[in-house]
Symmetry: C2
Subunit: 321 residues, 2 copies
Amino acid sequence: MNSFWNEYPNIQSELEVVSKIIKNNIKTNEKVIENALLELLNSGGKLLRPAFLIISGKFGDYNRDKILPLAAVIEMLHMATLVHDDIIDDSLLRRNSPTTQAKYGKDVAVFMGDYLFSRCFLLLSKNNSMEDMQEVAKVISTICKQEINQFTSRFSEDMSIKKYLKRIGGKTAALFALSFYVSAKQSNCDEKLSRQLGRIGYEIGMAFQIVDDILDYTGEEKEVGKPVGNDLKEGLYTLPLIFAYKKDKTRLEGLLSKESMTEENVNKIIKTTIELGGIEKSRELAIKYTNKTFKRIKALPNCESKNILLRITEKLLKRKY
Amino acid sequence: MNSFWNEYPNIQSELEVVSKIIKNNIKTNEKVIENALLELLNSGGKLLRPAFLIISGKFGDYNRDKILPLAAVIEMLHMATLVHDDIIDDSLLRRNSPTTQAKYGKDVAVFMGDYLFSRCFLLLSKNNSMEDMQEVAKVISTICKQEINQFTSRFSEDMSIKKYLKRIGGKTAALFALSFYVSAKQSNCDEKLSRQLGRIGYEIGMAFQIVDDILDYTGEEKEVGKPVGNDLKEGLYTLPLIFAYKKDKTRLEGLLSKESMTEENVNKIIKTTIELGGIEKSRELAIKYTNKTFKRIKALPNCESKNILLRITEKLLKRKY
């Protein structure tokens, strides 16, 4: 298990149960599938989304028999989108391990993701309500729409902060928000508190994705677990570049077409983006989301979960990996 | 709409409603997605699975407000597997039109299929029961497992009729069976009748897929809607070849590796398969399934649906396209 939760044994032990539930639910005679999914599960992700469910549920009447299977569903859903996302991004590495598509081919990766989706819904239909199902299905639609939007916008200089925020809202923050919200509801928190927790998930997700996108410019491959400049090479123009482009597009023009994306130019774009303050401005926006969410967390009822939430939010958004 | 249903106006008019429900449920601001899915929907598929739901439901208390949305779900599910299937098969054509992956790239096709899956589950969660959801999720798992199994067995000479039947059972017949079964249950047919109808769906599916696989050897590209010998080139060794290989593998050895799959060798394999009686033996097995299902249909309670079922089963399994 990822060391992220070492200081929180109550969360860590619950996450171990979530891992077990996932393992039980991906079992199949088709060993290619099971092994590939186990590799992904064991590759040391932080299991952030399940942890959010556990933390959020503890603001209400936490019932682990209900929350942990739901946490497993959300993580499996996330795994499915990772497997499919890597196909789109042509990624070879994730968490320093070869991606499913790199190891087994895009073809297997397609149905591997689908298999995970189907197991999610099977598990959901056994344990949860139609309302949960609807919330989950809606978030998957949103993720898919924003992933396709991201793909069809590759190498496009028609970029804006507004479009970027909508995109990361859909592809990342929506699932963070869902994790907090469904667990709160399931734990009998009232609608107002559930929505507050959902909003916190959303803001953490926004800040988290901005930090992730900054790391594509400033990270070390070994720490980030995937090559730096990867998004850029794929034509995914994220917040640092958008800010830099807004400030002085003449310095970046001619570098942003698909054809011009040589190793040398990628380095030039990264350098220019940094020089034009793209990283700083992005950090500022991440901090804005973080401060907003801190304020919101501080207004929550006092409990152990609140303290944990404050500490891990800080840790998450200062990460270098 | 496909002319297949011209003689059955009562089915055809219901299928038009199903198409409308699908159209309403794939609407999105992301026009790339909506247009690609509309193209697929309008490319003239027979809407077999929705028709099966309508036919099966009429053996009970047919309630179109319940059955037609469910029929839309099953067709959307089928569309999702088609989109993903074409990625695996590298197919360029389906129903004489470019496939989603050929037109928009594998990348878009991945999330396009996922989007459809999510819309299926959203529609299901609005209209149906948890039991329906479970049945649907199980069938998707089965389809995925058999699709992956099919892919990982490519170019393998370790083929057997048993493995082949399991595979087509999962990738085709399971969804046919589900179409009949869920609709019968939903229409208050008793468990015995529902299972009989499900069994009929399964047998039609088996015969249907065998006929489909024969067409890869004997069909005309214009009629089949995709190039002949396509499966073979992809290393998918289906029933005609399995029978031929069983009869005299010495005549096929050396032709079946990936490297040897030249245009010339593909033609040689097709010719040898025909000479060794692979097509005839496959037809015999398709007829065996057909006769079994005819017997089962004849034992059903008399009604208009029964007559339609007899006639379309005959038509389906004698098709050349």
